[in-house]
Each structure stands twice: as C-alpha cells, then as structure tokens.
C-alpha cells in the first residue's frame, strides 16, 4: 500500500470474558477464554506501555466484566502510569464503594456504565441476573457521590426501545455528561438472537426521530452518541475509522484484533502480544493489512463516492450476512446482497416473539469473585 499507516488512537483491552450477566446480545465470541488463559497483571502492564509508545491515547478496559479481575486497581494504575486516558466499561455489578474509591485513587479517568433497561423488570430480564438492576443503581449513586465522570450506555433493541426517554432522564439524574444510545449489533453471541432483538423498520425510524429531538432539547447538557439500527439504514455504519486505521483490540489471552468481532473471519490469523511486539502487529501483520485503506475494496464500493466515508461497511457483517468478508456490507442499499437482507429482516420482524437465548456461564463462573470484589 502506498498510503502511510497512521498509529492507532484507541485500544480496547478485554481483560476477561468472565461476567455475572448473560446478555443475549453479548458481542463476545461464542467460545469464551478461560480464566487461566488470561494475560497476567505484568503482561497487561507491558501491553499498556507498548500501546502508549505506539501512539494509543485512549484505553478502554472492558470484558466480560472488567471488575471481575482482582487486579483491576493495579491495572488502572499501570494504564495511567503509561500515560493513557483510562475508561472502565462496566455493568457496575461487583463494584463496591471501597473498590470505587481505590479506582479513583488509582487515577481512573472515566466510567461507562451499561444500562440493560430502565427498571428492574426489564434490566434483570435482559441481563439474566436477578437483583442486578438494584445493585447497578447503588453503584450509580456512589459514582455520582464521588463525582466520577460518567457515560451511560443504553443498549437498545425491540424489547426496550420504548424506555429510551427514561434512559435519557436517568443519564441526567446520574450526572452523566454523555449517553451512548447503541442499537444492538449482531456479532458473536448476539447472532443467536437477531430475530428476537432486531427493531422493526418503524421502530428504527421512531428511534432516529427521538434521538434527533433529544439532541436539540439537551444540547449543551447531555451529549448523545447514537448507533442506529443499521439493518434499516441506507448505508452501512462506518467501520471504526476504517479497518486498522484507528483502533485495536486485545483479547483476554492476548490476541490482537483489528476489531472485537474479527475472529469471526476464518481466514485471518491473529498474532499474540505474548509472542510479537504490538508495533509489529499493528504495522505488519496480515490481519491488520487485510482490509486497510481502500485498495482492496470490491465493486460497487470501488467506484462509490462514499468509499472513504464508510470503507465498504463492516467486514464482520459481510462475513455474517453474505458469507464473504471481502464483499460490500449487505446493509448497503447498493450491495447485491441487500435484497436478501431486507427479506430476512422483514421475515424476522413479522415473527419476532422468539425466546431469548442467554449466554451460558463462562468457563470459570465469576459470581464469587464478583461478590467479594
């Protein structure tokens, strides 16, 4: 490729796949990493240092549930020492007041709290964890008390979309400056629940309108970042900033992925931080170069004026929906696979009272750690 590859800006560190919740839309792979395969504290510390030297500015500590790691405070300390802006992506379950104090002292910059629903009935049904909602609300109170910078993350789908107005209110009540309204994406486990969760076309339009109105009303008070239902959009969502252009993802056992769903693409090989320096993986590995830039794009993308806007859409979605990661994202109305997707979506929307398929328990169940964390 002739274009010079820029360094990455953000890294998502999946510290563990263990999680007390079992959300049917989990985007983690169907095969989870076992606890004894996870990177150690020292290994993560080294990864953070390498990432900062490579140019990463923002670190997202994620999972599974990152606070299921007993060394979460040490990891935050290490990330801050490396100079990274450190964000914790959590369900809140397993965070005690003491642990929050420790995270604050360790220099954690920001917390992103997920919201499965705006009342216990909805949230606990979706999360598959009774009592989870009340514990989350307790954690939200502590976060507010401590003045922790907070983003609320509302994962939206056909069953809870009517709760969006309340979710916006809750964000303000909790003192959040930002809310992410993310329509569920179908990767990993979530693919098993597409029919049960995918919004109807009418719902998707209604959500777009609600968000547009709320943005006007709440301007300067609450920033709303919105991921629309892309199966119902005209164009696909932009693949991050383009494959291998701004972000990377490290799995619990140290594999480095261009995006968190990339393991669904069978022909890609992923290098591990246990064997290869991060810089080499970013600039030279086959997986990162596979869909970098625009040279690889097929038609109709190659001659499309939007190719540097969305980079042909999502590779993982092309894989999941068309069986080929190298074709135009079928969500795009210009894709030859689009008609089939429209048909499938319509059929699903017509028969949507499917039961939810919950995530099964991870290899080592997290409950115990989580409770005494």
């Amino acid at each position: 490729m002739t274009v010079r590859v820029a360094p990455p800006i953000a890294m998502l560190a999946e510290l563990t796949h263990r999680c007390p919740l079992s959300c049917p839309y989990c985007s983690n792979p169907v095969e989870l990493s076992a606890r004894d395969a996870e990177l150690t504290t020292a290994e993560w510390t080294d990864v953070f240092t390498q990432a900062a030297a490579l140019g990463v500015l923002q670190l997202h500590l994620s999972g599974g549930e990152p606070v299921a790691r007993r060394d979460i405070v040490e990891l935050v300390t290490a990330a801050r020492q490396a100079g990274l802006y450190t964000n914790l992506i959590t369900s809140g379950i397993g965070l005690s007041k003491r642990r929050l104090d420790e995270l604050e002292a360790a220099g954690l910059d920001h917390i992103q709290l997920s919201l499965q629903g705006t009342d216990a009935a909805m949230a606990d049904e979706i999360g598959g964890y009774k009592g989870g909602y009340n514990r989350k609300m307790q954690v939200a109170d502590w976060i507010k008390e401590l003045g922790f910078p907070l983003t609320l993350n509302f994962v939206m789908h056909r069953r809870n979309q009517h709760q969006l107005p309340r979710a916006l209110e809750m964000a303000e009540e909790m003192g959040a400056r930002r809310i992410e309204v993310a329509t569920v994406q179908f990767h990993g486990w979530a693919l098993k629940n597409t029919a049960a969760l995918i919004p109807t076309r009418e719902q998707a339009m209604e959500a777009n309108q609600m968000v547009a109105d709320a943005r006007k009303r709440l301007s300067g008070r609450l920033v709303i970042d919105y991921v629309p239902a892309d199966y119902h959009s005209e164009f696909p969502k932009r693949c991050m900033g383009g494959w291998g252009s701004s972000g990377l993802n490290v799995t619990p056992e140290g594999l480095v992925l261009p995006c968190h769903a990339a393991q669904t693409i069978p022909h890609l090989d992923f290098a591990s931080v246990r064997e290869t320096p991060l810089t080499e993986i970013w600039y030279e590995s086959g997986a990162f170069n596979a869909y970098r830039g625009t040279d690889w794009l097929p038609e109709p993308c190659q001659s499309c004026e939007r190719k540097t806007i969305d980079f042909g859409g999502c590779r993982c979605q092309a894989m999941a929906l068309a069986g080929d990661p190298g074709v135009t994202d079928p969500v795009c109305t210009r894709s030859p696979h689009h008609a089939a997707l429209t048909e499938m979506t319509a059929a699903m929307n017509a028969d949507s009272d499917q039961p939810l398929v919950y995530r099964s328990a991870p290899p080592v169940h997290a409950d115990k750690d989580v409770q005494d964390a």
């Binding site: 360094p7 800006i9 030297a53 490579l54 140019g55 500015l57 923002q58 100079g83 802006y85 964000n87 910059d109 920001h110 992103q112 003045g147 922790f148 910078p149 983003t151 400056r177 930002r178 992410e180 301007s219 300067g220 008070r221 609450l222 920033v223 970042d225």
Partner: protein
C-alpha cells in the same frame, strides 16, 4: 460572546495531554481526542478554573500583541464549541 466574568473550567474526566508520538497537544475526553492547534493550546493553557474569561483574553492580547476584540471573539467561539461538547464548563 462569553461574558467577561464567566470562569471557564476543564471538568474532571477531560485532560490536556502532550502526544509525543504525533508531536501535538490534544484534549482527551470520553471517546474523544481533540487535536489542539497553537491557538487552542494557548487558550486552554490559561484555563485554570479560577481566571475569568476577561482575564484570559487580557493575558492572550498581551502575550500575542493582538487586538483584544479579535482575541475575545476567537477565544469565545473556541470555548463555546468545547462547552457544547461538554468537555468544558462555563461557570457564571
């Protein structure tokens, strides 16, 4: 235009950071990295949570020997755009 006695403040969760890899100043905020040009950096350098907008403008006008009105207009536009993104507070 921001009133002279308003005090701009960078809230918790937002930091000015020297990016040594790209060799520039950036503002780090939740899910946002905002690159700062020299002007932006000079303005934020004076945002300390105690100086008023008027004092900041006076300081800049002296440091850069530039007309006060022009500086006030530029700084106001810049800080207002940060406020709209919730990465700056304007306390009156």
């Amino acid at each position: 235009m921001i009133d002279a006695d308003v005090i701009p403040e960078i809230p918790r969760g937002v930091r000015v950071h020297r990016d040594t890899v790209r060799n520039l100043w950036v503002l780090l905020a939740p899910e946002r990295v905002l690159p700062l040009d020299d002007t932006g950096q000079a303005i934020l350098d004076r945002v300390d949570g105690t100086s008023s907008f008027g004092q900041i403008v006076t300081g800049l006008a002296e440091a850069y020997a530039a007309p006060r009105d022009q500086i006030a207009a530029d700084a106001s536009e810049f800080l207002t755009s940060l406020q709209a993104r919730r990465v700056l507070d304007l306390k009156s």
